[in-house]
Symmetry: D3
Subunit: 243 residues, 6 copies
Amino acid sequence: MENAKRHDGRTFDEKRQTRFTRHFTCYAEGSVLIEQGGTRVCCTASVLPGVPAWLKGQGRGWVTAEYGLLPRATGTRTEREAAKGRQSGRTQEIQRLIGRSLRAVVDLQKLGENTIKIDCDVLQADGGTRCASISGAYVALVDALRWMQQRGMVSDSPLKGAVSAISVGMSEGCPVLDLDYVEDSGSDTDMNVVMTETGRFVEIQGTAEGEPFSREDLNRLLDLAQKGNREIQQEQQKALAQP
Amino acid sequence: MENAKRHDGRTFDEKRQTRFTRHFTCYAEGSVLIEQGGTRVCCTASVLPGVPAWLKGQGRGWVTAEYGLLPRATGTRTEREAAKGRQSGRTQEIQRLIGRSLRAVVDLQKLGENTIKIDCDVLQADGGTRCASISGAYVALVDALRWMQQRGMVSDSPLKGAVSAISVGMSEGCPVLDLDYVEDSGSDTDMNVVMTETGRFVEIQGTAEGEPFSREDLNRLLDLAQKGNREIQQEQQKALAQP
Amino acid sequence: MENAKRHDGRTFDEKRQTRFTRHFTCYAEGSVLIEQGGTRVCCTASVLPGVPAWLKGQGRGWVTAEYGLLPRATGTRTEREAAKGRQSGRTQEIQRLIGRSLRAVVDLQKLGENTIKIDCDVLQADGGTRCASISGAYVALVDALRWMQQRGMVSDSPLKGAVSAISVGMSEGCPVLDLDYVEDSGSDTDMNVVMTETGRFVEIQGTAEGEPFSREDLNRLLDLAQKGNREIQQEQQKALAQP
Amino acid sequence: MENAKRHDGRTFDEKRQTRFTRHFTCYAEGSVLIEQGGTRVCCTASVLPGVPAWLKGQGRGWVTAEYGLLPRATGTRTEREAAKGRQSGRTQEIQRLIGRSLRAVVDLQKLGENTIKIDCDVLQADGGTRCASISGAYVALVDALRWMQQRGMVSDSPLKGAVSAISVGMSEGCPVLDLDYVEDSGSDTDMNVVMTETGRFVEIQGTAEGEPFSREDLNRLLDLAQKGNREIQQEQQKALAQP
Amino acid sequence: MENAKRHDGRTFDEKRQTRFTRHFTCYAEGSVLIEQGGTRVCCTASVLPGVPAWLKGQGRGWVTAEYGLLPRATGTRTEREAAKGRQSGRTQEIQRLIGRSLRAVVDLQKLGENTIKIDCDVLQADGGTRCASISGAYVALVDALRWMQQRGMVSDSPLKGAVSAISVGMSEGCPVLDLDYVEDSGSDTDMNVVMTETGRFVEIQGTAEGEPFSREDLNRLLDLAQKGNREIQQEQQKALAQP
Amino acid sequence: MENAKRHDGRTFDEKRQTRFTRHFTCYAEGSVLIEQGGTRVCCTASVLPGVPAWLKGQGRGWVTAEYGLLPRATGTRTEREAAKGRQSGRTQEIQRLIGRSLRAVVDLQKLGENTIKIDCDVLQADGGTRCASISGAYVALVDALRWMQQRGMVSDSPLKGAVSAISVGMSEGCPVLDLDYVEDSGSDTDMNVVMTETGRFVEIQGTAEGEPFSREDLNRLLDLAQKGNREIQQEQQKALAQP
């Protein structure tokens, strides 16, 4: 099988440049701008006292997420969900995914009865916004947990591991890593892979938009996703090593 | 690795009994009750003239789905979404999945400017309702397409293949097929696999609720899912062979 | 006055066949499928601890109802209320009627601070769904009250009597019993009569869609309704006599 | 059977004073304040070009109604429905009833493709607001139809008859006419009777809040309602006879 | 600069006649109909125990307002906000303004943990409804505070002063006082001025619909507004002097 | 009168530093980040074909605005309006103000039947967000109009002038320019002044949160606002002079 020729010159297994800007805004306990190529997402982690009603009195915490898109984050204006009065199915799907992905690396027991609320707001969307949201939110989450430790709100770090996400897909019959908007629009299969730093999966969501994919395709896509996630995780660690 | 001991005596690779009742209600062009163990879903396919605004004038059709749960389909009463005034994120996620899965086996060009609206309403929920909805909706869809052919609304069948879905998961460290509600609640990983009759995947959604899963786990789960889907597809064909 | 010729061969004072299937689904404390001719309604009674805020601390219970229609219960697809985000005026009118009708036969004092929530979901609609909902819900209610007694949640049965409902109407100038959809669409007057087993009325709702009706018409309609309700009540008792 | 002693000194068959103020506000084509004892309702009839989508192209008109309550029309403040974001079931039930009642006396064919929108807004509520709304709206409707005739919008009057409504009920075992708020709160049975000037019924809605009512009770209540409606209709005609 | 010729013969600095009808409805603790020319607003003040959640436990009270328009208060029918399911931006803007204006003259400390809820419902709108609402609501507020004092709910009067409002505007280049609907529609600048009886401002809202206004224009408008407010305040005091 | 001592060392008539970053995001026809001290707002101007229904067929265009706040733009997390399902009264008030302010400097006739949609999304809020939104949106608007001219969508520039806004207030009895969050929270009077480059006013909104303000106070505040707006307008022009 030949490898894909990509419109921006990348090789099939080359992800876009990832950049993390910590302390992007000044109020949130964790606030990170992640740039994945042309995709830019502002990820904040807010530490809130208490937990949802259904969790009360168990001594455990909660991590949950919300996702939004500025109206002109996209090529044509996307209607503002606050004005429409409801969040789309897509938005809800994404924010549930982000929440699950981060909960996978947090020991909720150690968090105590506190909630960490993640907000991922896309300033500019060039494909892969849900994966970038997860990768960026992880860094914001770590900053928020450090903030809690500094204040003695948690004794032991609730962090169980690192997590990142990247998209892969079949583009013109060939597997490629980290699709941008143009590639995503034309791809047959789109897969989002959320992985921990031990190489295990938190979530795999693969969808055939056009032609269904074979088990062999799946394996090649997973190889790429593992490579991409490992690279992002190195960059997360580098960003977090700075003061 | 040992195999799971299951609370209902099934072997790890044994799915629950599947039963299709076609013509379950009298008005819909396709109407099927699917029973997957204790899970019962009423699936109807309605043929509606015209297509959504964004598709108009292209000569192509559309297939879309809605999903609901009767309030007492569940062990404790689930609040009625019509009374709450909004569909939950879970509901929207499921109905988008059902729609994508069925579109994978329909040639929208051959459908003409018609919409097939799938409604999946769960009468009783014992795990795996989204997968049962897909498997049952496929049978209702075929009935609706036959109805169109009989009336000359389509000349050539728009059907490109068969599709079914089944859930698999890691239960106490062992992979099992077709989890019921009890198993699902206790499982570490839950995966829904939508497969065509050629053994290719339309959708794979794997989520680690507890421990992340390894690539080896994934492979064993996919083996089970392929087996289960093949069995369901045989039963779909048998049901559709009856007049 | 001549009697009506009915399109399905029934005499003017002949109701359609009524069938009750108890234990229709497995989770609800009471679960009954009622079939009234082609009309099929799933009625469940859920026992919930506590009462609405405005009733708290008075030692009394509450009975309330919700009503819904599967989208393809009808000849042409009815839009799903959960998707529209609001229940129609018709739905609210019906569910208030069902609630009032059942409260008429329950001693709320004896119920203690518990709520019985009735859900009536129409699987197939061929006229008379609100009356069938009441007649079916009564049987589900009795099963739920028996369930409470078996668990010692109530000492004395809160049941004060039996209740059923049936529709009558003027069709082409003649009074007829238990209109189906075709008759209902063409009728001048439609009346729903909710009656206890002592022959007293809980609710009478008569509406002239076309020609207003005279007091004499009213009397003839009430005669029919009393006959029909007595017949349904016999069938309710027969169904409840089974274990 | 003895007759009721009423808290305001009325005899059992005596209705409260009814007063109509035509041209109550200046913009609506018909605008009437009806006072029924302490109940005061502002009824307007607006002539709007066109009809709802489902009626288009049939050459027929439509009459429909909306109902509201000023927040302090009631003894304790009622939450504003516009602020809550939805109309209650009670409001929807009432506005549907008003619409049906007025359509009973309008020849929609003669109305042409026009809509008459009735708005009934309760300024002060002392029982019987839905009946007062109907009786007042009829006068506003006549004024609006006259306005149309003066402008040549209709050639022949679309009016087929007169209509009014009054409530009756069983209060401490005795039938009484035109219940005020105090009586209504304590009554066992509440019945709203909408009647044309020929003495025929457009709508009968009888509800047993407490004890179910017998057929004999019903007959006595209907006698009262007929008397009360005849009296209101005389007052409507008197009001409409003024220029 | 020449003065405006006004379509109703008023001089440029002449306001419309103001009339207050206290005890307009019977249930509210304060209930006032204000008429400002053709504009008529029913203003009620309801005394409610308790305060909003965010104020609890501070020993202070709250004053807040809601605003509505009967559908045919306007020349062409305005859609009912309860039916639309949301209050418009204009409505929310107005009710926030009314609340702020009245809070300016109430000592919330002396009010204790009570809420006064103002409802302003426009029966007829001929321009200046938000200003009339404030002027009328003040009178209703005073009546409600007197009611509280009579019952010993407050010892000392929480009233700090009087407040009224009036609109001014530039009409064809000339400043005019108290615009009616016709003038308002044609004006370049519209300004609402809320003033206490000491001549100080609670709120100034000036908007250039067409040509922006100069500082000199502003000064001339404020002169008019001060004159108009002084006149209204005399009429408020006269109305409140009656028993 | 002494001048205010300000917590950040500014003199009473000194505004915070204003910075404009044009082309902040890549898709919108105009996209500007405005920073006013710690307040940061992303302002985009989108060119959309067509106009709202009520403007159709008149050959004129429209300019309208929407406003939002990222949840952690604020010190404590603000609930996401899209999740709540409705925009607050404050949000609607602000977006209406932004729209009016920009329409004051656009010749809608020259715009043709096009809409310019302004989106102002606050990334970080440190007081004065509505004024910063207007000042930033003006720059985005100019970029969008230039984009239209380059494409020949408008022949003549629809721009009639420049516009900016700044807040002023009474802080501890002294007038100050450009309040930040700390000052705004403690101020008695808050005034937003929207001014064109000719020194005329588009909008003046002055609110006394505590003590009402005198006419003399008003004059001193307006002096400050005129100074501040002149300074911002110089910076707008400088930013727009760059390519």
